[in-house]
């Protein structure tokens, strides 16, 4: 396969596909690589194989992805699925693994469009089989036409939690209860954002509609939940929860949890771009311009991986990044780019209007990471909150020191599930903000690659041997 391109786009979700269509449209040589076995990222997952029935259930939020995918297929952009990118370099090199083999290829520009993930929040029992993120429900439905076996308990906060509950109702899955942890006090601080949000009545009404649907379906909806826990001897058996004035226990076969969405920063951190801390939604995100530019000339970022703004914004930002890259490759005159960008920005702002309200309403509750000592934080290496507290007591002041001392973050997920929690726990104990801390180092390979695959790596240029035995 060709080893040199104009652009390599990592991620075939709305941002990546939109960027690919635009870039190919400007005559650029585009390759899209994606780890999933089908196009669409998370939101438009497996849309090419979606049945009419699936499209009916998931509605236009899903269905609108079809036209994007069709335009992508009609474009000249090349697509490689099942391709896991595990390293990127500022000079445009990337290494990816596919079908058990790794190779290094290069592009003049890389667009990172790897999207977002659910905020991983440890709680007692979260490692039990049967506990899963809300995204898992839609993912299994879209990819595999499968739904959870009830009874299902949902817990957490955020639009996706309610959306997932609504889908489960549509699937006919029994829901025991929805445990909403959104603090009752969140509403007032959101009021300043309301006028802007009212520009999008459709968006707000949809949210209200979700809650109404649940009540109509007769599902127990508990508000002001302050904590929840999963129980079982080796698999999930039941869920317990507390509110300010009571506690209860619910039978559960599956527990669906959701505490918001955060950008996937694996590759942007691996390449060492500056990241900023958002104090409202409490996550790190790469420092980019609206057009997706970073401090590295050859690296752009677009979509939820740059900041969590949803699928439609991702599509627009993907287009911006493609235009910016096309301009720098002299495939798009600056005048024309500015004109299109100006026009699209109006669309973007309309799209972003309700976000400050939603982000504030569903901001992570305080004490989200104030965990009992026996709570597993690092799932891979079995490191508890107590282990982390102990390391801090011994003087550790940096997440990477705590990682070294406790092994938190040293497992197969490479800190993806525990990194945020580690920073938040440290910040809570040391009275800092995570933005004051240096996040866990992420070094290549940003995925687990076998020794034989690394040994057989097809490199772009062979370097002279650097090996010498040192004693």
């Amino acid at each position: 396969m060709k080893t040199f391109r104009d652009i390599i786009i990592i991620g075939a979700g709305p941002a990546g596909l939109s960027a690919a269509v635009a870039a190919a449209g400007y005559g650029l040589d585009v390759l899209v690589v994606d780890e999933q076995p089908s196009l669409g990222g998370q939101i438009y997952r497996n849309i090419e194989r979606a049945s009419d029935h699936t499209l009916a259930i998931l509605g236009p939020d899903y269905g609108q992805g079809l036209s994007l995918v069709e335009r992508f297929r009609a474009s000249q952009a090349e697509y490689l699925g099942n391709a896991i990118v595990w390293r990127i370099d500022p000079n445009g090199n990337i290494c990816f693994s596919r079908a058990g083999k790794s190779m290094e290829i290069n592009a003049k520009h890389i667009l990172i469009a790897t999207g977002a993930m659910e905020r991983p929040v440890p709680f007692k029992g979260w490692t039990l089989p049967g506990v899963m993120g809300a995204g898992a429900v839609d993912a299994n439905f879209k990819s595999s036409n499968m739904v959870p076996q009830g009874p299902v308990v949902l817990a957490g906060s955020g639009p996706l939690l309610l959306l997932t509950a609504g889908h489960l109702v549509s699937f006919g899955v029994t829901i025991t209860a929805v445990l909403d942890t959104t603090p009752r006090g969140n509403f007032l601080p959101c009021l300043p954002s309301v006028p802007k949000a009212l520009r999008r009545p459709d968006y707000l009404l949809k949210g209200l509609g979700m809650i109404v649907n649940l009540k109509l379906a007769g599902i127990r909806y508990v508000r002001g939940v302050t904590e929840y826990q999963a129980h079982g001897s080796d698999c999930l058996d039941h869920v317990s929860f507390k509110t300010s004035d009571r506690s209860d226990t619910l039978e559960a076969g599956v527990m669906v949890v959701h505490e918001g969405i955060v950008p996937r920063c694996d590759l942007t951190r691996q390449i060492d771009i500056t990241h900023l801390w958002d104090p409202v939604q409490r996550y790190w995100y790469p420092k980019t311009t609206t057009l997706g530019r970073t401090e590295m000339r050859a690296i752009h970022v677009a979509g939820d991986g740059a900041f969590v703004h949803g699928g439609v914004s991702a599509q627009l930002k993907g287009a911006f990044a493609a235009m910016d890259i096309a301009e720098s490759l002299k495939a798009l005159p600056q005048e024309k780019k500015n004109g299109v960008v100006r026009r699209l920005k109006r669309q973007l702002y309309r799209e972003l209007a309700p976000r400050p309200f939603v982000d504030a309403l569903y901001k992570p509750r305080p004490n989200l990471y104030r965990l009992p000592p026996d709570t597993p934080v690092c799932r891979c290496e079995a490191v508890t909150a107590g282990d982390i507290h102990q390391a801090i007591a011994e003087g550790c002041r940096d997440p990477n020191e705590i990682k070294a001392m406790t092994r938190c973050g040293m497992g197969q997920c490479q800190g993806r599930m525990c990194g945020l929690a580690l920073a938040e726990i440290m910040s809570d104990l040391l009275k800092l903000e995570p933005g004051d801390l240096k996040p866990l180092n992420i070094r290549p390979p940003a995925r687990n690659i076998s020794l034989s695959e690394l040994a057989g790596l097809s490199l772009l240029e062979t370097k002279p041997g650097v090996m010498k035995i040192h004693l």
């Binding site: 998370q42 896991i84 993930m117 899963m132 898992a136 595999s144 499968m146 076998s450």
Partner: protein, 99 residues
């Protein structure tokens, strides 16, 4: 843990799950096959503590779904579609250094 939403009219493939022959719809993920068509409630045992684990995110992040496919271990089951003739085996101990 999971079940088919509607009876699938898509074509099926035949896979081997730990010695048992199973017929599953083509195109589903290996993770969905294990958690929905085998009757099992876990996908591996944790290398650190040995307890049962099942996929958490189903989208490639959590790395709980690591499984052996056709003799090659540590593959992310949620990112791979079943293929006809696939041999799937769960990982319940540490990898051995073989020949």
């Amino acid at each position: 843990m999971f079940k088919p939403y509607t009876s699938d009219i898509r074509k099926t493939v035949s896979i081997d799950f730990e010695g048992a022959r199973l017929s599953v719809p083509a195109g589903i993920t290996v993770a969905a096959a294990v958690m929905g068509y085998t009757g099992e409630n876990y996908i591996r045992r944790s290398p650190a503590g040995g307890e049962k684990r099942a996929p958490f995110c189903f989208m490639g992040v959590c790395h709980e779904c690591l499984i052996e496919i056709d003799g090659i271990p540590d593959q992310q089951a949620c990112l791979i579609q079943v293929q006809d003739g696939m041999h799937i085996k769960r990982q319940t101990g540490l990898p051995q250094v073989t020949k």
